[in-house]
């Protein structure tokens, strides 16, 4: 029992962590928290099932096609819901515009795909029990993403440009960095990461249109608790959340576990509004 709690906890935790990283990736270049993060995860599952099961493409082709589609959705988000409201960031219009876009994505999926959870294909036919692929694939995806992002940020010029913009947007622009193109690129990257989360977790969460709001919330919790823009916080928070949630699921039942998660989330945020690993106080006057 302990083993299965840990296996499923770490697996869903890895999915939440990936959604959290998607939030952070969009946030770092635009200072925008986007409601589309969870929908990207939902689309990863739905598109994976669509390409591989329904259209019968080989898993690897379906995977690449899914990544491309989600990256495209990311870019569309930037064009439609983010860029027009960046001028007045302090009015928080992005909350509304990204929410609107997220709901549109969800509704189209519900009508064009299905309102029932659909099966997701097995990918490798590897492992069984607590080592079943549905448990280790999300963890592997999360690990690969972290390593990939580290390499990107540390070893490549583009990655360093990302960091520069995240650190100080004005200074980065003054140095002549193509801020707008980098922002578009980061939204595409976030789209792919979100899609990867949904695809890797497809066998656990299934291809279900209503996964969006769920992933939105559970992906946001680690980001909020770890501090905005902090990927390490998102991963630690995501894994902790996943294990806690699964443990509560086994011990007190599903509904009360979500109540418990919600209450802890609110209490921690009220005590530490900047998150446990974040810190900054903006100058007001």
């Amino acid at each position: 029992m302990l083993a299965s709690i840990l296996a499923s906890g770490v697996a869903v935790g890895a999915i939440y962590a990936l959604i959290g990283i998607a939030y952070n990736t969009m946030f770092s270049t635009s200072r925008v928290m986007s409601f589309t993060a969870g929908q990207l995860g939902m689309l990863g599952g739905v598109l994976g099932s669509l390409f591989v099961l329904r259209l019968g493409l080989p898993p690897i082709v379906g995977f690449v096609a899914m990544l491309a589609c989600c990256a495209l959705i990311g870019v569309i988000t930037e064009f439609v819901a983010v860029r027009p409201v960046l001028k007045s960031l302090d009015q928080h219009l992005y909350v509304l515009s990204t929410l609107a876009l997220a709901l549109m994505i969800q509704q189209v999926t519900a009508i064009k795909w299905s309102t029932e959870p659909q099966p997701f294909p097995r990918l490798f036919e590897l492992g069984s029990g607590t080592l079943d692929e549905k448990f280790w694939v999300p963890v592997a995806a999360c690990l690969l993403t972290i390593i990939g992002l580290e390499l990107l940020y540390r070893k490549t010029l583009v990655g360093r440009a990302f960091l520069a913009i995240a650190e100080d947007n004005f200074a980065a622009r003054a140095l002549g960095l193509p801020e707008r193109n980098l922002r578009i690129a980061s939204y595409a990257l976030a789209g792919a990461i979100g899609g990867l989360a949904g695809f890797a977790g497809g066998q656990l969460l299934l291809a279900f249109f209503a996964n969006g709001p769920l992933l939105n919330f559970y992906g946001f919790v680690p980001v909020a608790l770890g501090g905005l823009g902090n990927n390490r916080g998102a991963v630690i928070g995501g894994l902790a959340l996943g294990i806690f949630q699964q443990a509560a699921n086994f011990l007190v039942g599903g509904i009360f576990s979500s109540v418990a998660v919600f209450c802890i989330f609110i209490i921690v945020l009220l005590l530490a509004p900047q998150g446990l690993f974040g810190s900054h106080v903006a100058r007001r006057v």
Binding site: M33, V80, A81, P84, V85, H92, L93, V95, L96, S97, L99, A100, L101, L103, M104, Q106, Q107, V108, I111, P213, N216, F217, F220, A224, G253, I255, F256, S258, V259, F262, F265, I266, L269, L270, P273, R284, V285
Partner: protein, 600 residues
Amino acid sequence: MSNASRALTEPLPSSPVRPAAWTTLLPFVILFGLAALLPLTGNDYWGLIATRAAIYWMLVSGLSLIVGFAGQLAIGYVALLTLGAYTTSVLAAGNVLPPLPTFMALGVASAAGAVFGVIVGLPALRLRTFYFAMTTLGFATIVTQVALAWQGVTGGGIGITGPEMPAPFNTAWGFFYLCLGIAALCTWGTSNIARSRVGRSLVAIRDAEVAAEASGISKARLLVVVFMFAGALAAMAGGLFASLQTYITPDAFTFELSLLFFIAVLIGGRGSILGPLIGTLVLTILPEIAAPLAAWSTFLYAFLLLVIVLAMPGGIAALLDFESRKPLAFGRAVKPNPHVLGELLCGERGTSSLVLRDVILSFGGVRAIDGVDLEVRPGQVHGLIGPNGSGKTTTLNVVSGYYAPENGDVTLGASLEPAAPATRAGRGIARTFQTPRIVGEASVLDNVMIGGAIDGRATFMESLLSLRRHRDDEARMEADALLALRAVGLEALAHVRADRLQHSELRFIEIARTLVLRPAFLLLDEPAAGLSSVEIDQLGRLIVEIGRQGTGVLLVEHHADLIFSICDYVTVLNLGRVLAAGTPAEIRVHKEVVSAYLGG
């Protein structure tokens, strides 16, 4: 008559008067009048839709205070509708306690809604926008899940019957009139709130939070009251909704409903009551007349939301605001009337000075102020000058409570509480800001009236019901504000939206806003920045007269001419320390000041 002389005799197009009461009332009368005639059609289906719209409007009217006025993005408000529906149904059915009469159950549900309204709203006091939107969403999910799980009480997925109404409200049309009546009351009450100091303060918190604090508005207290009120309305709407549905299951309370409420407010326009009312009607009726769209209604709502945010942020209210499209006169000049100040600032002032003793404050490793001593006497115009970065504005921020000093204290008779900006207005300290903090969407008069917020005596309930004390408050605040506007020379623009004014006029609005407080001490942060030399002269005369009326003025300014011509006393800061202090004549010849600051 020549053109030029006619232009002088004609009233300026820039002086719109306050719209008469009946023109603001007319659309409401028409809407509710038409609704009251609906039973004549004998069409039960339209009666049902209209009843539903009336119930939704009860909730939206409260929500518009939160979303539209206070700017808090409470998205999951369906949670409170659910809560009210289940509380009323369960109490009326007697699942837990002996059955209660329906109206008593409704009352209990409203009380529960008030409590939960505050619980849902509390995070807004500490968390940023997106976080708050997220927590309300999370709350909405949880309420539905609890309704599903708590089978013994709520009937779980099978549901529960809604409360039955006693006669004469047990017929479809009887129930319709009940709901219509309550909706009309809600409209009246929320309009009263919107036009009271509560409404103005909410908008100030939304658009100029720092200025609201400096005017003594306590965000926490205000929001808690409004969350209670909106929660009670939403829960009452929920009880009536359950009665209308006759049978409720958790499925009845979809996120789509939440979205409808939220978008109705945004379509309607922030800071309006008529707009959200029209928005509610449109969104309730739209899916009915376009039946094939029913499956796509969430998409439609979301699309509308996107269009509003990107193309029409002002909503319906902005479309209906014809007054703000008339051009204002060109070449306006601000002509203050300092002699009016005697009438406005009359009355008792304390005799204590505003004193800073050895105040130290650093940011990171930099000492922004490093042991500043300063005394401003009542009636003194005290200039505070120094090069950029010498700590002038930081000193003001310590006095007005935005920063807590690390060492030393600030006293006005008794010591001033550190890091509590909202307490300063109560101690008679008012201030202006380097960048004017103005509510652009409110009229000039409303902006100035915000400054008098702490003078209001009426409670929320008295404002809601427009009782005597509320009306007295409003009349007095408006008279004060008009007087202050006359003093700074802007009375002709009193009813114009503030964001249509030019920069120099905004500076004078800020001064008028401080004057209605009848401050003992006034802190001015670079009031002359961006003003023409004529306007600076006018400003100088105004400040001198303010001092003469007994108000101590602490003036931070870069215009040396202004400082030396109007100040009684000047303190010079450099690198966070007092470099020199004395009369303007002494400072002018002070060696170090001349070399450090005046140059030469």
